[in-house]
Symmetry: C2
Subunit: 241 residues, 2 copies
Amino acid sequence: MRKQEEVINAERAMVGTNVAGRMAGEDRRNQIVHVAMRLFSERGFRGTTTKEIARAAGVSEAIIFRHFATKEELYAAILDTKSCAGNMSQLSEMFAEAVKRGDDRAVFESVALTMLQHHEEDEDFLRLLLYSALEGHELFQMFWQRNVRELADFLRSYVRERQKAGALREMEPRLVGRAFTGMILHQSLINNLFDKSRTLLDITNERAAREFTKILLYGTVSSSAPEAEVKKRNETATRKR
Amino acid sequence: MRKQEEVINAERAMVGTNVAGRMAGEDRRNQIVHVAMRLFSERGFRGTTTKEIARAAGVSEAIIFRHFATKEELYAAILDTKSCAGNMSQLSEMFAEAVKRGDDRAVFESVALTMLQHHEEDEDFLRLLLYSALEGHELFQMFWQRNVRELADFLRSYVRERQKAGALREMEPRLVGRAFTGMILHQSLINNLFDKSRTLLDITNERAAREFTKILLYGTVSSSAPEAEVKKRNETATRKR
DNA sequence: ATGTGGTAAGTAAGTGCTTACTTTTAATCA
DNA sequence: TGATTAAAAGTAAGCACTTACTTACCACAT
């Protein structure tokens, strides 16, 4: 009975998004949130009208206010949808093996690639983040917390751990993480916002991840650590003398 | 006559911003642009109303439309004011000595510090840049061109030059510059936008510039180059063996 | 008296949000 | 099974207010 209902609703939802028939409440609600997400990311909160959202969702404006008391509430509802998909809390699990091995290159490269791909696949994400920051929405705090802060914390603790093990140079771990995040974010901004048209002519995510990791690792690997990269470098240097 | 006029106008401008007396046309125009710049940076183009600008400038809304045909035109007028102050075209001159010496550390550190300070002093700059990018204003193209692209070009050509001299590792110069710009931009974004409240508890611009430069240089210095840092690193490594 | 800097009071076209009303759906019960 | 019914999904039209932009008129220094 319960299951039947859900199946029917799901079917209706699939039809509804195209044909704009009548939908079960929750499906319609979901659809509205998704439409709103797209529009808010394109034009910001202030720049998007409830009328536009309604038209894009294929319903009258009034039903938006049946599902959400205010425009703000609709905006806030985005977070529940978005934070699940974009959540980085599984980070430490995703890269657990690399972390365990202490394979710095693999760790940083995976992190970079994951972020770059995430920013590329979810076109709305960066725009929503920036708009909410600029418009001073409380939403931003949670966006930042759940998607950036966690990454920063992960990187910081990882760097600190590896420093203790003598593998990384003694530098402020926060700044190391911030530098790396900065490289990645900047690359994403250029590809997905600032210079969108020439994305394909540019550097692939894989290459960017590799090169950024190289810069960071060359820049932070402890000279006393038995890392392959350091060994190689030292050998070269010694030979040159 | 010409000079007298300008002095009088300047006086009027200073009074006018406070007392809202009658101003010479050009002064009023300037004042409006400055007020608009602040408001546009705070709330974006769409989020700022001409009424607000008028009230903040201490005049009626109509006189804004006497000076500027449309709101867009007022927005565009910001560029003339802004691009002069924020222009980075003098970059190569500013750091000419360091460039000539081939003092990579000094070059990158100066660039970083200059950018960080610029972003801190000119609070409107980053916000205007991001808003114009998100809102898809043509303005953004010029903003980007004059303030970021030039820096990127400078860094790229500098890196390429130094690579030819054998001082820097063989890496895509574009990516090296992008990585560095990314670190700096990210730091500025955190300090001036994302986490504004705790700016003072954070890292100073000087320190950030130093550390970022360290990461980049360690990460890009050619192992065959007779750089002080490399020497030091190699000595340490050799000793450890 | 004339051009310039200025205003008060508009305009039509939105803005978020509400009201008063109609249709569809799904459970209930004769 | 099929009619009944209450809730939920939907709409058209309009609310008070705001938007960018205009018009018609004024004060005053030269």
